[in-house]
């Protein structure tokens, strides 16, 4: 009898339901994502499209009780992987370019502002409350930095369209953040929070996130100056610091997107002697891409699709229109031909996965508003996660900037 008990402690004979645990599912999802990514690449489609689809399949497992823990865990893993990608993207950005070519700043402000206005106006037309319209427009105005980085890396893209996509998507993410911060302030005021909260909270969000980014960049530079680059030790230390920064941002309720983007940008611009090269996180960044897109696929809920399909399609169309006008208006003075401007426009269509993080923060403070926001934004995001990556890859190929021969 004693021997039997011990055997069952050792899970022998095994119970099939044990395989249905979050870790096993995560591993299985990774394998499916990698294999389907390979398949997609053979069909000349971007790998990240396959990752999103895998995630969506995983999303159907939402009802299984044993996997209840998996979705919050997926959120944390998503955050961490997203942070890595944002840091990497930040390192590719040269803010000095805006000084040397001010038309780029104008293009960036114009495409974001016009997309914001178009989506906002449409939401008002759809009879949405103004605060919801602002939040939706704020989230829809930016372009997904992780999609840009993922597809550009996947196709080894280099060139003027790639450079602009990277820059504009990073700037757009920052504008989005400011708009959402202000919208939060507005909502605080409406829900009768004390004025101090309405003013101080957004200020804390913006300044705190930038400061955290600066501290991360400063520490990365100081630490890495003393670490031998062999055996990828520099890269590994940077990753360790990024994980630390994400955890600090979470604890202090700061924005992971802005902190890590700033950390990336500053770690490059503060490196006067160019001691550190833009870090390529290599395998780890590939893993991060798989995780980000599988997780974002899992967090999308296809069930919502029916309820919000019309406004979501409206969001997709309005932002495309706004971005298009902004990009075409200033393409010539900024040094891009009309043809390449149209490719840039197509490339700028992906929506930002950062919305997933914002929806979570909104839901934590105002659950009602959060679910309304989720319905429209997640549906739009789902449409764009499926359509935008192949479009982006197409535009990079047409611009002749991919490394494929």
């Amino acid at each position: 009898m004693e021997a039997m008990l011990q055997l069952s402690n050792l899970h022998f004979p095994p119970d099939a339901s044990l395989l249905l645990n979050p870790l096993a599912c995560f591993g299985l999802a990774l394998v499916i994502a990698i294999v389907s990514g390979e398949l997609a690449s053979r069909l000349h489609l971007p790998r990240i499209s396959a990752y999103v689809m895998t995630g969506m399949l995983l999303g159907f497992a939402r009802g299984i009780p044993q996997l209840a823990d998996m979705f919050p865990a997926a959120h944390r893993v998503f955050e961490l992987a997203f942070a890595l990608l944002l840091f990497e993207l930040g390192q590719r950005i040269d803010l000095g370019w805006l000084r040397r070519n001010p038309w780029l700043l104008i293009t960036s402000l114009a495409e974001s502002l016009l997309a914001f206005t178009a989506v906002g106006a449409l939401m008002i037309l759809f009879d949405q409350p103004p605060i919801l319209a602002v939040l939706i427009a704020g989230l829809a105005a930016s372009t997904g930095p992780a999609v840009i980085l993922g597809v550009c890396k996947d196709s080894a893209a280099r060139g003027p369209v790639t450079d602009r996509l990277t820059l504009l998507s990073a700037l757009g993410s920052c504008y989005s953040f400011v708009v959402i911060g202000v919208a939060f302030a507005w909502q605080h005021e409406k829900t009768a929070s004390p004025l101090a909260v309405a003013v101080l909270h957004p200020l804390y969000l913006v300044c705190g996130s930038i400061l955290l980014g600066y501290l991360c960049a400063w520490t990365v530079l100081r630490l890495l100056a003393h670490i031998n680059p062999i055996h990828n030790n520099q890269t590994l230390s940077a990753i360790a610091l990024i994980i630390l920064t994400v955890s600090v941002a979470n604890t202090l309720d700061l924005s992971i997107v802005v902190s890590l983007l700033c950390a990336g940008i500053l770690s490059r611009s503060l490196d006067k002697n160019r001691r550190l090269q833009p870090m390529d996180f290599g395998l780890i960044s590939r893993l991060a891409l798989i995780v980000v897109f599988t997780a974002s696929g899992a967090l999308l809920q296809p069930a919502m699709l029916a309820s919000a399909i019309l406004p979501a399609l409206g969001v997709v169309a309005a932002r495309a229109l706004g971005k298009g006008i902004g990009i075409f208006l200033f393409s010539r003075p900024s040094g891009l031909s009309l043809r390449k401007a149209s490719l840039l426009w197509i490339g700028m269509l992906p929506m930002s996965g950062a919305s997933l993080l914002w929806i979570e923060s909104t839901s934590e403070i105002w659950p009602g508003l959060g679910s309304q926001l989720a319905a429209i934004i997640l549906t739009a995001l789902m449409i764009m996660e499926l359509l935008a990556p192949p479009a982006l890859q197409f535009s990079l190929r047409q611009a002749d900037e991919t490394g494929e021969h």
């Binding site: 080894a156 280099r158 003027p160 450079d163 002697n273 900024s334 040094g335 390449k340």
Partner: protein, 372 residues
């Protein structure tokens, strides 16, 4: 049979072509940007002629025809400023140097023109490995006979041009131990090397027609010789130099070529015969490998000489000719270079200080833009 007409041009007139690297500000690697740079430059008034080259990471600037090096230098400076301003707007860097220190040739894309695609088809990986950057100097000749004779006499000084201009010690991420690794990329082509020993235009035309008859070449462009006649321009084209790191050095090299040609045409210091070429490849290798420290065999005196000493002696011989052409200050620049070290040694010193090839590229771009 095609008659190869040699356009008459003014003796010792000169022009320069420079092939330049387009690199990314992000990581110093070669990047695609020639199309945007050209489109941008063509929209603004500018001096110098800008052209695409074999890959999207290369741009060529050529000057108009000049009689003296002062105006040539001024045009090159203006063209440089135009290019640097355009590159700034497009977030690109432009730099000199004979080869990119760490680019991987497999990543290069061939510029989208039929000729470049044809070359890619014929030469395979050689075409992409040909992502090397040279300075071509054209010296005007009144007739084809003069061009052929000047060409052969200039061949004796080929090592001098190599050592003065060498700026490609690093290639594919390693120190090649050569001062000019670029020359090794060129030597792989079947029609590289030296022109045949013919001393008049009629004989050269016969040779050209024979090669064309074999179907080996279609036009003069297919000869990748170190020095070749360029009948449509009426010039001798010296193609051996790495693109130097500064415009001033590019001008000084052109001044050296012009002054040396003046000396060779006026004084005819040695006869033209096959012995000039007996040690040609050995000397060429020595200069590419060791730069100023090369040991040459003087094909005329048959003596072993140090390239550095031979160069200093040559520069002294050229003093009266430089006075006539107004190239004295440029030759003084070169004399200093012989004493202090060429671009290849500057690149090695810089790399040894920073241990970073991307940083080296960044500093090369700083030198080119004159922002130090």
């Amino acid at each position: 049979m095609e008659v190869l007409t040699f356009t008459q041009s003014k003796a010792l007139s000169l022009g320069v072509e420079l092939e330049l690297q387009i690199v990314s500000r992000m990581d110093g690697d070669l990047t695609r940007g020639a199309t945007e740079l050209l489109a941008h430059i063509n929209r603004i008034p500018h001096r110098g002629d800008f052209k695409p080259e074999m890959t999207e990471s290369m741009i060529e600037v050529s000057t108009s025809v000049h009689q003296n090096c002062v105006t040539l230098g001024a045009e090159l400076l203006e063209a440089r400023d135009t290019l640097v301003a355009a590159a700034d707007r497009l977030n690109l860097l432009v730099c000199g140097g004979g080869a990119h220190p760490f680019q991987h040739w497999a990543e290069r894309k061939i510029f989208d023109t039929p000729r470049f695609h044809e070359l890619n088809g014929l030469y395979g990986y050689l075409a992409k490995q040909f992502t090397v950057f040279g300075q071509h100097i054209h010296i005007g000749c009144t007739c084809g006979d003069m061009a052929m004779q000047l060409l052969h006499r200039l061949s004796r000084y080929l090592p001098h041009f190599i050592a003065l201009s060498a700026a490609s010690p690093y290639y594919q991420g390693v120190d090649t131990a050569f001062d000019s690794s670029r020359l090794n990329a060129i030597s792989a082509f079947p029609l590289s090397g030296r022109a045949p020993l013919v001393t008049n235009w009629e004989a050269f035309t016969a040779y050209f027609n024979e090669m064309q008859g074999f179907g080996v070449i279609q036009s003069m462009k297919d000869f990748y010789w170190d020095i070749r006649p360029k009948p449509e321009f009426g010039t001798v084209e010296i193609r051996i130099c790495d693109t130097p790191l500064t415009v001033e050095k590019a001008t000084a090299l052109a001044a050296f070529a012009q002054t040396l040609s003046h000396y060779l045409i006026e004084d005819k210091p040695f006869p033209i015969n096959e012995s000039i070429y007996a040690v040609y490849t050995v000397n060429r290798f020595q200069a590419a490998r060791f730069g100023m420290d090369a040991e040459l065999i003087n094909p005329v005196s048959k003596q072993k000489v140090s390239l550095r000493e031979d160069l200093l002696e040559t520069l002294s011989t050229l003093i009266p000719h430089a006075a006539i052409l107004g190239t004295t200050p440029m030759l003084e620049t070169l004399r200093q270079l012989v004493l202090r070290g060429n671009d290849a040694s500057w690149m090695r010193e810089t790399y040894n200080r920073t241990q970073s090839l991307p940083d080296l590229v960044w500093q090369q771009a700083g030198l080119w833009a004159d922002r130090r």
